[in-house]
């Protein structure tokens, strides 16, 4: 997809070519080639500064939400435990969204994340897997979930890259199939896990921070490095921005596309484990509608739905905004329905604002 994918050509909207994510603020650039430590530090700061700039709208939005939280719920909101609760809730969908960021940046989309998550959660908690986990090691469950995630991602990727099925449709088919499979496998029962070691490993805390949150942070950091600092990441941008150019430049676009779907599949596997640990169950209903939440978070964050531009930091903000919203609503005993309406408004306002900021920063 390219710009014209918006299906319109408003003079203003036709060229929302925001400064891409890797370019530091201008003056510092000159210092960089020297490769000195000072230059690097400066560049690093510039990255931070410019990324804060680009994400200003998101920071403001999250800040506003927090202010609302503090005003309406006071200490109950600004409590360490509450913050950790928000982060724990954000962790699962966050990991999925990081994976989604890669696929979308690479010009695709994945509607099957929720279903893959469900299938992975079921597969990793079948009686057989659990028995083996108890006999051998709880890592068996981890391997099972990751294998299922990667496997489904592989199928998606092959269908899309080599079968020529558009991503929306291929993953829609996977959505139906994977959830169906999860139901068949679990016989639609909630599978309660009985592997104490697994639960301990995932539900513990390190330095007061829940392991689940740490996993989220880890996935986000790795995701950021991969997207911004490795050839894999650069190629993802190229494949998403102009697949034909990428192909002619010698990038194996098809293989790369497959890898992207495997990456998001793996993220679903990780998220499945986190959800299994959190709920102590595997179930075919896990992850329902995660696809829409993840896509919303990614796009709110500033990743271009048409591919070619992606930001992990933005995605993390997107996830936090939605999770905080839901927390503030619950703290205030407000209804899911109102929350739903507000969520819709936030999505629209955020995207409109981003465009406004982007076009202002250009002139």
């Amino acid at each position: 997809m390219n710009e014209s994918s918006t299906g319109l050509s408003a003079p203003g909207a036709a060229a929302p070519a925001e400064t891409p994510s890797t370019e530091p603020a201008v003056p510092v650039t000159a210092a960089e080639p020297n490769g000195t430590a000072g230059g690097r530090a400066l560049a690093g700061m510039a990255v931070l500064r410019s990324s804060a700039g680009r994400n200003l709208g998101l920071v403001v939005a999250l800040g506003l939400l927090c202010v609302v939280g503090v005003v309406t719920a006071g200490d109950r909101f600004a409590d360490v435990d509450n913050i950790l609760t928000i982060l724990r809730l954000a962790a699962t969908i966050g990991v999925v969204s990081i994976g989604m960021t890669f696929v979308i940046t690479g010009g695709g989309i994945d509607l099957s994340v929720g279903a893959i998550l469900a299938l992975a959660s079921v597969w990793s908690t079948t009686l057989a897997t659990q028995a083996m986990a108890n006999d051998v090691h709880w890592l068996v469950m981890v391997v099972a979930a990751l294998a299922v995630g990667a496997g489904c991602g592989l199928v998606n990727g092959l269908l899309i890259a080599y079968g020529g099925v558009v991503p929306f449709i291929a993953t829609l088919a996977m959505l139906a199939s994977a959830r169906g499979l999860a139901e068949i496998l679990s016989d639609r029962r909630t599978q309660i896990i009985n592997v104490p070691a697994f639960r301990e490993a995932f539900n513990g805390e390190v330095l007061g921070i829940p392991v689940l949150v740490l996993i989220f942070v880890l996935v986000a950091v790795v995701g950021w490095i991969v997207l911004n600092r490795t050839t894999f990441g650069r190629r993802t941008l190229a494949v998403g921005g102009n697949p034909e150019a990428a192909r002619l430049a010698g990038i194996r676009v098809q293989r790369h596309t497959v890898m992207l779907y495997v990456v998001v599949g793996l993220c679903c596997g990780i998220a499945a484990l986190m959800l299994v640990a959190r709920t102590t169950t595997g179930s075919s209903t896990h992850g329902t509608l995660y696809e829409l939440d993840a896509i919303a978070a990614v796009v709110i964050g500033g990743t271009l739905l048409s591919g070619g531009r992606g930001t992990i930091v933005g995605t993390v903000f997107g996830v936090l905004i939605f999770t905080t919203l839901s927390n503030v609503f619950t703290l205030n005993n407000l209804s899911i329905s109102v929350q739903s309406v507000v969520k819709g408004l936030i999505i629209v306002v955020a995207v409109l604002l981003q465009q406004r900021l982007a076009s202002r920063s250009k002139t």
Binding site: S4, P11, A17, T19, P20, T22, E23, P24, T29, E32, P33, N34, G35, G39, I225, R229, T230, T231, F232, G233, R234, R235, L237, A238, G241, N242, E244, A245, A246, R247, L248, A249, G250, I251, R252, G308, R309, T363
Partner: protein, 494 residues
């Protein structure tokens, strides 16, 4: 390359082509639009897989299955359509696919330094390696493509109409780089429709016609231009412009532009075009001529100024209003701005004239097709048949389809942006004649072209645009090429 065959659905693009290139030479590939030049070099760079034939490299037969394989041999290509990733930086684009990295991690400062070195070698040190390519002008993007080609260990460099988006100064610069390369023993395949360029840079020539080699290995010095044209077209034609009308023979002013500006791009353009008159806009690439046309057409919202057609003011920034008032535009980028590539030819022709074929909103498809058929026959669009998707036509024929759209519309003002870009000699003359005959019918025409010869030959009056300002205006007969060049360059040279 021997007997290369490439089929597309319904078209035999290459029907057995031979080409032989030697180290250190500039081998020019000539041929009319659709002759198969681009297809041939895409086969050579493995962007397409051929349906037959062999490629011999350094004496051994090779089979190039992926672009990587071709690059591995040292074949670098600059494609006709720019092939850059807009959101990546200059350096990232240059090293795309063979990144400067260690263990999968990018080494950005190294990449930037190397990119800067390459750009300097091309005489464009001013292009920052960290700028996103999408923000560069087409000419600068061409330079980046060039730098990318040079970033490989190149033994054969293929350039497909590199000069189409470059002005004369840039072209000279390009030739300097090419000469340096050939001196190092690099072979170059050069494709261009500008025959005078071939004279300047080429060593030997291969001519393609309808997907076949009609002549190969011609020495440039020994081959007169007439012969080349004969080979390309199969007939002998003059590179001629149709005669002008006397200057006092024009009708009333049709198009009147007053104080038109788009902030940051061009300012206070005044322009009057009479019925039957052709006005040319000369200038360097990036001078803002396309934007002037777009603003007149309403495709770009002007910050100040008015446009009137036959005395009636047009609503600014409204293309549909302009079209209704009888203005038509053939945009610069045919494929992305002009055509519905996957739709049949007749859809593309009638898209602006649908009202004529409809009653109460219902279309009369038969009438539509019939009228489109008449036009394509009159314009000699090849291959014939209005149900073919335009994607399968060559560049020149695609341009004719866009022209046919406005012919059908019978508009009063026609804005032409690079009407012959990428169009071969034969078709060019046809298009010139067509434009002149339109003017003779009383249409007011504005032509933008980067070829000064074309502006001078075609237009009655020429406006010279420099950095968004009209700096000079005179009848074409009072100007010659060097004078215009002077006007155009003044600011940038001095």
């Amino acid at each position: 390359m021997h007997g290369i065959i490439k089929k597309f659905p319904g078209v035999l693009a290459l029907g057995g082509v031979d080409l032989e290139v030697r180290a250190g030479e500039v081998h020019c590939l000539l041929g009319q639009n659709g002759a198969g030049k681009s297809t041939l070099i895409k086969v050579l760079s493995a962007a397409y897989q051929p349906d037959g034939g062999t490629i011999v490299w350094d004496g051994g037969t090779v089979s190039l299955t992926t672009p990587v394989a071709a690059m591995g041999l040292g074949i670098s290509t600059i494609y006709q359509e720019l092939d850059l990733v807009a959101d990546l930086t200059v350096a990232e684009n240059i090293f795309l696919g063979h990144e400067v990295s260690r263990g999968g991690f990018s080494r950005r400062s190294h990449a930037n330094a190397q990119a800067r070195a390459l750009l300097e070698r091309l005489g464009h040190g001013e292009i920052s390696p960290t700028r996103p390519v999408g923000t560069l002008s087409p000419a600068a993007q061409q330079v980046v493509s060039m730098a990318r080609a040079l970033s490989h260990r190149t033994r054969l460099l293929i350039l497909d109409e590199p000069s189409a988006v470059l002005d004369q100064e840039e072209v000279r610069n390009l030739f300097r780089v090419i000469r340096n390369l050939t001196a190092e023993g690099v072979a170059v395949i050069y494709i261009s429709h500008r025959l005078e360029e071939i004279r300047q840079i080429g060593d030997r020539i291969t001519v393609l016609k309808d997907g076949r080699t009609v002549a190969t290995g011609l020495q440039v010095e020994d081959t007169p231009t007439q012969d080349l044209i004969q080979l390309m077209t199969g007939r002998s034609i003059e590179y001629v412009f149709p005669p002008r009308r006397p200057a006092d023979d024009f009708g009333d002013p049709v198009l009147e532009v007053r104080g038109l500006s788009v902030s940051g791009v061009f300012s206070t353009v005044d322009l009057t075009v009479h019925a039957g008159e052709i006005v040319g806009l000369a200038g360097l690439v990036g001078a803002g001529r396309s934007e002037i046309l777009e603003a007149i057409y309403g495709a770009r919202r002007p910050s100040t100024g008015t446009v009137s057609v036959a005395g009636r003011r047009l609503r600014s920034g409204a293309v549909a209003a302009s079209v209704r008032a009888g203005v038509g535009l053939c945009p610069e980028e045919r494929k992305s701005q002009g055509l519905l590539l996957d739709h049949p030819v007749f859809h593309n022709i009638t898209v602006s004239t649908l009202a004529r074929f409809s009653r109460g909103g219902f279309l009369n498809g038969a009438a539509e097709r019939a009228e489109a058929e008449q036009l394509t026959t009159a314009l000699d669009v090849r291959p014939a048949g209005v149900n073919r998707p335009v994607r399968n036509l060559s560049g020149g024929n695609q341009q004719k389809v866009v022209l046919a759209r406005w012919l059908m519309r019978e508009c009063r003002v026609l804005l032409l942006d690079e009407p012959t870009r990428g169009v071969d000699v034969g078709a060019r003359t046809e298009i010139y004649t067509l434009i002149r005959s339109l003017a003779d019918k009383g249409v007011a025409i504005v032509v933008v072209s980067s070829e000064i010869e074309e502006v001078l030959g075609l237009a009655d009056r020429v406006l010279t645009v420099r950095e968004g300002v009209v700096v000079h205006e005179a009848p074409a007969t009072e100007l010659d090429e060097s004078r215009v060049l002077d006007l155009v360059m003044e600011g940038s040279v001095a």
